[in-house]
Amino acid sequence: MSRVRTYAEAIAEATAIAMEIDERVLCFGLGVDDPKRVFGTTAGLLERFGPARVFDMPTSEAGMTGVAIGASLDGARCLMTHQRLDFFLLALDQIVNNAAKWRYMFGGQSTPVRLVVRLILGRGWGQGPTHSQNLQSWFAHIPGLKVVMPASPADAKGLLLSALFDDNPVLYLEHRWLHQMQGDVPEGDYRVPIGKANRVADGDDLTIVTMSSMTLEALHALPCLRKAGLSADVIDLRTVRPLDWETVLGSIRKTGRLLAVDTASPTCSVAAEIVATAASECFDRLKAPPRRLAMPDFPVPTSPALTANFYPRAEHIAAAAASMLGRTIDVEDIVASRTSPHDVPGEWFKGPF
């Protein structure tokens, strides 16, 4: 049975269900038990599972990641949360040198590292250079990690439950602009398999590969393309490592055209990986140069005047898709339909964080 929930509620619900199923699930991170409950994503957990399993921590991202690894080696399943991915840069040694390699370097003989790290991707309202980074390609580059990026409330729930019951370290990247998004969310222990992409739209003219919030932008681009008589497969990756090549390449083979959209900087990005693999594996089926659309290869500036067209949005996707088919289209409808300023996810957002 499905009910309407926000993305943030779906995360809290998945966590509660996992904690219910397995009493060894721990939930910690800065603010998980505070009044704001990490934008509501940990609402209700402290009350239900108590302070032994739901707790705050010192501002020690590196050490606490190691602590999570260690607890998992004694059989716990750790869910650790960071309010911004950017803060997790302090912990990369632990996640790459320890978590990602632990099983492999001990010849498969260790207790599994059951660790899920929730990383919130910041955007808008002047988050600026140190609060807006998208580093999924870094994690995707590392053998031993799994990386998921849910785009809908249902996936937020289903991927989190799968991640929590996976026996490998999983990075769970959630977008701040999706937290208030509503959608149908199945009840109970609903799982979305890690490593399976989702075809969220069907079409013939090109394949748009997306992740996280870019999936929504791509969907918003479709009506405009449709008006011009164009249709697209939209493949929401859901998981960026391991990547569902079967679905992605299958679609590209069908349409012959690829637009890979990424929330991150372009160089060595997940979008680059997709274009590269498509070029190598589907060379003979490509009808046009595969293309990627990503953030500019710059840090994110703070002033709203500087971010207006900085992030790829539906109009950019529509324009890029059309141009790949040799068409120029009018994207004014998309821009005009927007009611809130470009630097906030919706009218509800009034700052400051």
Binding site: L30, G31, D34, P35, K36, F55, D56, M57, P58, T59, S60, E61, A62, G63, D86, F87, L89, L90, W125, G126, Q127, G128, P129, T130, H131, P296, F298, P299, P301, T302, S303, P304, A305, L306, T307, A308, N309, F310, D343, K350, G351, P352, F353
Partner: protein, 332 residues
């Protein structure tokens, strides 16, 4: 050890003036933030002004400073420009970081303010590196690093302080202990009974502490620390207890949401450092109420001008997002 003896006469009027100025500035931001024109996070220091004011006056103009997310008052007290700071918060081209940085990323090298950034503890090693270079240049300058009580939980804090101690670097570490990190009390972050300054002593660095709401004490302690640094005794650490009145980030009061009590807030508010110091100087006859009134008026005018400057400045062109990434060539 707590400095109690008066080693150096504090510049009383300047202290009061600076505190009033910082308060007036930050309150104006709080008041106008709901206009939704300052479109970036802001971390206000209302309630904590005594530390910034006194440390700012204790430092020499040639000294260098870095800070973190809550840096407005450090920036101003070090001599940074109020209009340019405000323009930065407004995202204008005239901003001190030309709109790239916002409230959390401030710079003014002309007054020795070498940068504030938003990663907790991120500038502690940077300030220590300034100290390394100063020591190699054999100047008498000091590098001052401002941070909060949570920053000492980050590994880089220890790494930086350890290095400063090994090399006896001219670094002043200023910890503003306001007892909270966002909504988290010290209790869940540091062991019971921990005194931050004692812990730092254990690292081998001279550490002092005191009431951060007493500007004269802060001033004396800081001057004492600076003297010992300049005399070549190596780094010093000062911890000042104080209290933030408003929410961690943003303009509002939030004692109602439950992470701290209204009673606790009211206790601190009753001993407000700005009001208390004003009263004290009036009582002592150091200033007259007329002088204070004039001061306030001047400051109000300065703040109003800064807002006018920020509001009337132009936004950067969207194209400016694509410059100043790399030095040299075309900057990109």
């Amino acid at each position: 050890m707590t400095i109690r003896a008066a080693g150096h006469e504090p510049p009383r009027v300047a202290l009061l003036r600076s505190m009033l100025r910082l308060r007036c500035f930050e309150e104006a931001i709080a008041e106008r933030y709901p206009e939704q024109k300052m479109r970036c996070p802001v971390h206000l220091s209302v309630g904590q002004e005594a530390v910034s004011a006194a440390v700012g006056l204790a430092l020499e103009p040639g000294d260098l400073a870095v800070s973190g997310h809550r840096a407005h008052t450090h920036y101003l007290a070090k001599g940074g420009s109020m209009p340019r700071l405000l323009a930065e918060i407004y995202g204008k081209r005239t901003g001190c970081s030309r709109g790239k940085g916002g409230s959390m990323h401030l710079i003014d090298e002309t007054v020795g303010f070498k940068g504030s950034t938003a990663i907790v503890a991120g500038t502690i090693p940077v300030g220590t590196g300034l100290g390394l270079s100063l020591s190699l240049r054999n100047t008498k300058q000091v590098a001052c690093v401002f941070f909060g009580d949570a920053a000492v939980e980050e590994g880089v804090f220890f790494e930086a302080v350890n290095f400063a101690a090994v090399r006896r670097l001219p670094v002043l570490y200023v910890c503003e202990n306001n007892f909270y990190s966002v909504y988290s009390p010290l209790r869940v972050r540091q062991p019971e009974g921990r005194q931050i300054h004692e812990m730092v002593s254990g690292l081998g660095v001279r550490a002092m502490h005191g009431d951060g709401n007493d500007p004269e004490l802060v001033y004396r302690t800081t001057v004492d620390a600076l003297d010992s640094i300049r005399s070549g005794s190596g780094p010093a650490f000062v911890e000042f207890t104080t209290y933030r009145y408003r929410e961690h980030c943003g303009p509002n009061f939030d004692n109602d949401i439950g992470y701290r009590t209204e009673a606790e807030f009211l206790r601190w508010r009753a001993a407000d450092p700005v009001e208390a110091y004003e009263r004290r100087l009036l009582d002592l006859g150091t200033v007259t109420s007329e002088a204070v009134r004039d001061m306030r008026a001047e400051i109000a005018a300065e703040v109003a001008d800064a807002f006018a400057f920020a509001e009337h400045s132009a936004f950067p062109d969207a194209a400016e997002a694509y410059c100043d990434l790399y030095a040299g060539e075309d900057g990109t």
